[in-house]
Subunit: 227 residues, 2 copies
Amino acid sequence: MKIGILGTGLVGRTLAGKLASLGHDLVMGTREVAALTARREPSPRGGQSFADWHGQNQKVKLGTFAEAAAHGELLINATSGSGALSALRMAGEKNFDGKVLIDVSNPLDFSHGMPPTLLVSNTDSLGEQVQRALPRARVVKTLNTMNAILMVEPRQLADGDHAVFVSGNDVAAKKQVTEILTGWFGWKQVIDLGDISTARGAEMILPLWVRLMGALGGPRFNFKIVQ
Amino acid sequence: MKIGILGTGLVGRTLAGKLASLGHDLVMGTREVAALTARREPSPRGGQSFADWHGQNQKVKLGTFAEAAAHGELLINATSGSGALSALRMAGEKNFDGKVLIDVSNPLDFSHGMPPTLLVSNTDSLGEQVQRALPRARVVKTLNTMNAILMVEPRQLADGDHAVFVSGNDVAAKKQVTEILTGWFGWKQVIDLGDISTARGAEMILPLWVRLMGALGGPRFNFKIVQ
């Protein structure tokens, strides 16, 4: 499938690497292609420089946000929360028309130090802001509640038997995304929370996630819903 | 042990019933004792009227907030989030001196309809507000992230192998509360998140909890942390 990923940080790379390994035709979008490929220093949280990563993932094409969005039949927003809305604007609203947009981003605000707070919460969410900014996109919020590698390799914990949530207004879009989560990645507990406003709950779990990472000594954990 | 419980709603009753069955000496505190015992209509979310409940739980004594707080060597705040700070003020600051105060309350705001939003979140929490209001109490936030009956009967799900969080500044208080959770109630996964500011994360999980209740068709579920 033709897939466009917006964002080239750790999350975007992890998703791109997995999807390319499954044979999909990927374009990753960034703000300025030349600036990104010229950068040789390690990424802030991603470790490797983008150039080094791209050297190992040459099947993944690189383009502007608009080129990635135009390319994909399926789109993924993997930008940072603070940059998401401007990235989506740069990608061009018409490039999202009728397409499923998986929104993985979290509205984390690191500007006041650690632990991060949320840029939006309680009465609104980034998922809703994305849907309002792109009313003809079929936004599905998901995969924002665990470490990047677990997003695409959930079987690394308990054979994939832990939870991922989906939120969105379009039932068919959520069905397609659920099939991607289970069939492509191996998720076993996919929970449909409801419409896009339920992204508030999925995003507001982040402050707990960050504290759990501290308490447990690392990011290799996830929530499971026990019934 | 002498235990004081502030609040006579569903959560307070469930905790009181369990603790009384374990042989503890309980006083439940309320705003106006006479008004509560006179009330015969069913409680808003608790089902039974307080009088009917108390008829079946006669070992539990009833008093003012101050009488309950003075009685307990161990105190539990099970008031509604919107009434918590005024209830604690009425209970009298000196009655908390040096005592462990388990704070179970959630800052849920139902005034704008369902689903509720949070009265405080992101950069503060009710747990922190309680600790600031009672600086000599040893506040431990816990048990606020699941249905009332599961708080005291966690073995009703997966033999108790799911998560309860503790947050607080006093290490010895958290140790005592952890022993209560495991030894008295049967919890198997007790996670110390850190100081009282980590109550933000534990409280901010509520919007997700409420949506999960809708998605799963009821409140009989809990989070487990898979590692």
